[in-house]
């Protein structure tokens, strides 16, 4: 009835994601690992939960089945560490929005640059893709 479908090998598809410098692609593996952390972040979409969280962050986090490392990452507002624990930036945006911080603040905090340096880099055209595309290929 129709042309034979070209299938993508899922293993090859996923393996390539590990070759991108400084990037964690939100794969099923990360989504599973970060399920409770991301659901915690979603809970901050309700004003009463935001108030309760800000009043006692540790107690609020202890209501969730989140690893201690992930809890520490949240308490420290260490977004790289949260992403290492399976967090996804759009879920975690509920956390930095609760802190009244912007996407630029959160993104900048993950680069090792100061906020001023990061903002300046963006004003100058952003981070060049040169050398940032592939670890193995170095291009």
């Amino acid at each position: 009835m129709s042309d034979k479908k070209e299938r993508i090998d899922i293993h090859e598809y996923l393996a390539e994601f590990d070759d991108i410098p400084g990037t964690r692609v939100f794969t099923a593996k990360r989504a599973r690992q970060g399920y409770h952390l991301n659901q915690f972040a979603m809970s901050l979409m309700k004003a009463e939960n935001r108030e309760r969280f800000l009043a006692d962050e540790r107690a609020y986090l202890d209501e969730w089945q989140i690893s201690e490392a992930a809890k520490q990452a949240v308490l420290n507002r260490d977004y790289n560490a949260m992403i290492d624990e399976g967090g996804n930036i759009y879920f975690l945006s509920k956390l930095f929005s609760t802190d009244k911080k912007s996407f630029q603040f959160a993104a900048g905090s993950m680069t090792g640059m100061t906020q001023e340096e990061y903002a300046e880099m963006m004003l100058k055209g952003g981070r060049s893709p040169q050398g940032q595309r592939s670890i193995k290929g170095g291009y």
């Binding site: 598809y13 930036i89 879920f91 963006m122 893709p129």
Partner: protein, 297 residues
């Protein structure tokens, strides 16, 4: 008969909404961004250009959908949609008014056309949907047209392929053209362009990639249909993958070629390279805005 008269692309970054809300849209930083949208705002108010319905393709940013439900393609069939609370309180914008008759018609047609849609009868819409409305319609008491929100998963991998998105657009076109009511329908593809919001590589921008993407969206969509996800990730940053949603818009304009009425490209808007276009299918013949292009040198 309903017909698709134009396709618009737009950024949907939340900082644009914040700039409107805080009254900073005219400052040195945001002024050029809002100036870039002026021709679109003027154009859409011209006689004949205001759509009856916008099919607004966007991605939900963990607002309507949490980790429990991850639809690849969803369509909002409700009478209306409220602005989601993303942690700041809901954006203070009017409710989005849907067109359930047309939305259900499209949903049914797409399913028969082998796109297995998720049908949303209750859904809040986040900045992905409401920021483009604010950028193009300003701050009215109510939105000037109906909107069918059309969320696409580009958050949890794998998102749909560019080819799948383009084909979906083609099927949306066929569905709209089989709707008996005489409606002017636009398809908006939102998100992009190059940007990365996470990790040490955050802040990546690739102007060459973006401008080639705009060129081929118009001239050579076949190339873009074949572009694998890894190329978006390497070249356009981890969130640049949102550009697959532009291909839904492009597919919906048909295969006869498109006319570019307006192009805006600007760096930076917060973390993002911003692209906004007005395209129309051949044979529609709407006049372009007086300014045709604003592209950063």
């Amino acid at each position: 008969m309903a017909r698709i008269t134009a396709g618009i692309t737009s950024s949907h970054i939340p900082a644009l909404g914040a700039a409107i809300q805080t009254g900073t849209s005219g400052n040195d930083y945001w002024g050029p961004v809002f100036k870039g949208y002026e021709p679109i705002k003027e154009w859409i108010q011209q006689p004949g250009n205001m759509p009856d319905v916008v099919i607004l393709v966007y991605n939900d940013h963990a607002s309507a959908f949490d980790m429990n439900i991850i639809p690849t393609f969803a369509i909002g069939c409700a009478e209306s949609f409220k602005s989601a609370d993303e942690g700041w309180g809901p954006r203070p914008v009017p409710d989005v008014i849907g067109d359930p008759d047309l939305a259900w018609h499209i949903a049914q047609s797409l399913i028969l056309d082998e796109f297995d849609m998720t049908i949303m009868n209750q859904m809040d819409v986040d900045h992905g949907c409401t920021v483009p409305l604010s950028m193009i319609f300003g701050e009215p008491d109510k939105w000037p047209c109906k909107v069918i929100p059309f969320p696409v998963n580009v958050v949890t991998y794998p998102p749909p392929s560019g080819n799948r998105c383009y084909s979906l657009g083609e099927s949306i076109r066929a569905a709209v053209e089989s709707y008996p009511e005489d409606l002017n329908v636009q398809v908006w593809g939102t998100g992009g362009m190059s940007h990365q919001l996470q990790g040490p590589r955050a802040g990546l921008i690739n102007k060459d990639f973006d401008l080639a993407f705009i060129r081929d969206l118009i001239e050579d969509p076949e190339r873009l249909r074949k572009m694998p996800h890894i190329e978006y990730l390497r070249e356009a940053g981890s969130e640049g993958i949102e550009l697959v949603m532009w291909l839904i818009m492009r597919g919906a304009l048909g295969d006869k070629g498109v006319e570019e009425l307006y192009r805006f490209y600007h760096i930076p808007a917060s973390n993002t390279a911003l692209g906004a276009l007005i395209l129309q299918p051949e044979g529609i013949g709407a006049a372009p805005p007086s300014v045709r292009e604003q592209v950063d040198a």
